[in-house]
Amino acid sequence: MKIVIEGNHALSYGAKAANVDVVSAYPITPQTQVVEKLSEMCASGELDAKFIKVESEHSAMAAVVGASAAGARAFTATSSQGLLLMHEILHWAVGARLPIVLGNINRAVGPPWSIWTDQNDSLSQRDTGLLQYYCESNQEVFDTVLLAFKVSETVMLPTMIVLDAFFLSHTSEIVEVFGPEEGAKFLPPFKPVDYLTPDNPMAFGNLTSPDSYYELRYKINKDTLRALDVAKEADEEFEKIYGRSYGIIEEYRTEGADTILVTSGTVTSTARAVVDAWRDKGRKLGLLKMRLFRPFPIEDVRRVLGNRKKVVVIDRNIGFSIGGIWAQEVKAALWNMRKQIPIFGFIAGIGGRDITPDVINEILDIADRLEYPEEEVYWIGVKDGQISYSRR
């Protein structure tokens, strides 16, 4: 059934289609509608799940950790400061190998207070071990909830689904949704090997000596890498059943391209239009959409970018002093290819600043003009007395 819904509700409907058993979340702008919808669904019986009210995100995450440890399919959602408050329990969920799915609405971190989008909240969780999907449309959000549970429950690691504040969370568009019966075609019931039950008491997360901890981390890394294949296979299976697929990355008009623009999140959509315009002008420009951040798809990135003349990365985030986080990851992925491809790193749209086609054109113009980047990172649109780019 096709309906017009906002991105937040796409998460809620996705959780319903995944037939989750437990939802626990604490409301925060711009995530609130996710929780509202799910609590309504739980209250009305539309979704046969337990909604656990909590007093903070730390507790929300702890509640879904408990639920997942007890063998329940568990979902939560948050944003920004809320995600940061969850941080400790995110590590726990990974170490305990609990396949929780978490929706995070990208919102800039305060202070100063901001409710608008950027990626520093989710990207700063890089080394927790959460798998991370970045979405471009509401349909993709809905579908990714099912995909995330599939991947998580296969490799036994939690997944974070990331969407931009307002540009996706509050944008209404057409989404094909379905209920748990249809979802079950793709997502079988969750049956962990070990789970908490009074019938068979056991302890989770015990003190582990150096004798074993090392191997347990090794296994997390191994399964994180395995998630790349699992995600691809899940995507293919999803396409067979529902006719939609996203891959773990997406190439857009990369054939014969000298320059590849690398984007994530909603900027990708606008960038598609820009790429079309440049192609129409005969320019050899292509687009790489980064969908998986963790595990980082090194091989795919090398395959797409390894033989180009230039790579241009747009980051709606900042790693202070070193540049955008996606740019760093791309650089790291390409380094051992020993090809010295020029990688241009651009910062744009932080704190919800609009990224219009003009902004992307400006970025491409700079990269086009130079053979090699003269600066490690370019901040686009910093006010310098000129008319702001977004208003041009």
Binding site: K2, V4, E6, P30, I115, W116, E136, D164, A165, F166, F167, L168, H170, T171, S172, E173, I174, T266, V267, S269, T270, R272, A273, G352, D354, I355, T356, P357, S390, R391
Partner: protein, 188 residues
């Protein structure tokens, strides 16, 4: 692709108007997108919402700076904000007002549709006398003026999206459709 920008005040229902308009266009087979100009919504504060529709999937995910048409839920806004900024030539300005076309000094390259949505909303007891909720009425006027969306689709979208007093809201849209005053079409 057609881009519509809606100006209103917190409490008038501008954001919902943009969504209902998108839902109505969706019923007519369009690809749609609707979203607010993201901010902290406060009763009485100026708010902006956007609607895009197309026969192709919509790719742009940024705000609308050069809209094809405008919806203005409060004519007093025109005194403080340049609501017509970036409006494309030939665009419609659908405005809630009891004034006449001559009272507005918009460039003659625009087309003006005026409806007294306050009066219509209050007629159907939508909102209060001091703060009528005019979003559904203005959509009737938009349908009548632009012809971009049919009244039938608007009424269906209202029925699905408005939880409180859907009949009153639908009737408001119908009344507005009938009572909209179309100014002289573009002189230019």
């Amino acid at each position: 692709m057609v881009e519509i920008r809606t100006h209103g005040r917190g409490g008038q229902g501008a954001v919902v108007a943009s969504k209902v308009l998108a839902a109505a266009l969706f019923k007519e087979g369009r690809f749609v997108q609707a979203f607010p100009a993201f901010g902290v919504e406060r009763r009485g504060a100026p708010v902006v919402a956007f609607t895009r529709f197309d026969s192709e999937p919509i790719r742009l995910r940024c705000e609308i700076y050069e809209p094809d048409h405008l919806i203005v839920l409060d004519h007093a806004l025109t005194e403080t904000i340049d609501v017509a900024a970036g409006l494309k030539k030939g665009g419609w300005i659908v405005i809630n007002s009891h004034a006449n076309a001559e009272d507005f000094s918009y460039s003659e390259v625009y087309r003006l549709a005026i409806v007294d949505a306050n009066e219509i909303a209050w007629r159907h007891r939508l909102g209060s006398r001091s703060a009528p909720i005019v979003n559904t009425a203005i959509l009737g006027a938009f349908s009548r003026a632009t012809g971009l969306v049919g009244l039938k689709a608007v009424l269906e979208a209202i029925a699905e999206s408005v939880p409180f007093n859907p009949e009153g809201n639908k009737q408001a849209a119908i009344d507005a459709f009938n009572e909209t005053r179309i100014s002289n079409a573009m002189k230019a």
